[in-house]
Subunit: 131 residues, 3 copies
């Protein structure tokens, strides 16, 4: 298992971690398998989406904020209930194929750490299992 | 594979199943791996989120109801189309790390069964794979 | 790994791929495990939901369009930002149990390829890991 540290700079921000996840996969020596990327936080998530145009990640942040507003009469008293809802919508893990010893993403895909209650120092965990 | 029965008491309710999933993992004897938690129902889901403050789970239920209303001109005639939409938004499975023979959740994380069309007697299935 | 080609006919459409995924699982010879279904595209997804009544899939498409509108001042200039948001909401993969050598879905469950920016020729990848 490899821990990747992620520092976020805003309350809501997607950080492209593709390169660091890919290096972990290469180091694992697994040729064919699944890379499991885990977010141990409850106001953040991981997702796979387009990495070529950074406006896509910003649109996802904006799209989520549009229908999960920060203030909406939430019960949770810490002011970050919206972040918890978004975390469950995107999910705490991603399972990405490994093929030929490499992270086997589609042409336009990248792996993102999704911060919804930053800025903070966060981490994700990467485990690679053999098929 | 272990089946965990979950009885729900309301139409929409999150049930914290962390302890029961953790016991299954311990019993499996797997030291390092991934616990796969599966919901075989189509109007329910599983998610990982904060388990310390129960208001977080209630906020997720309320947040989903806010943008997926029960009545919205749905085609599906059984009166639970909203529950099907919510099930796909949160997902039918969770894949959680196992480390040192234990379910390796983050500090604030718990595993929830998410009922969207109860009350019913439901079940989840837990499988543990070795890394 | 098996590639399944999916041709979509509309901009937004769920295609039931259950039978083709099930055949891949049977061919794999794995008795107990997890089938990993991967979508290598960023404006499409995979989900598990009710396959018996096709109106459920149409309701999920309609429900997503309701709170992620096609036009909403998105930054991404290709006119498909809504498709990227929906792709992350449903997710790029599904992990479904395999039991007794067969895809072990619940009674009403099916596996769907979710097109959000068609019509196109798409593909999904299926990998089966042993428990």
């Amino acid at each position: 298992m490899t821990v990747i540290e992620v520092r976020t700079e805003r309350r809501e921000q997607f950080v492209d971690v593709t390169q660091r996840v890919a290096e972990t996969v290469t180091s694992s020596g697994v040729a064919e398998g699944i890379a499991h990327i885990w977010c141990p936080h409850t106001t953040a998530a991981v997702t796979v989406n387009e990495a070529a145009d950074p406006s896509v990640a910003r649109d996802i942040v904006a799209g989520l904020a549009r229908f999960v507003p920060r203030e909406a009469g939430w019960q949770h008293a810490e002011g970050n209930a919206d972040a918890h809802v978004k975390a469950s919508l995107l999910g705490a893990s991603a399972s990405v194929p490994v093929s030929g010893g490499r992270l086997a993403l589609g042409t336009w895909q990248g792996v993102f750490f999704c911060e919804f209650d930053g800025p903070r120092t966060r981490r994700i965990e990467v485990r690679v299992s053999r098929l």
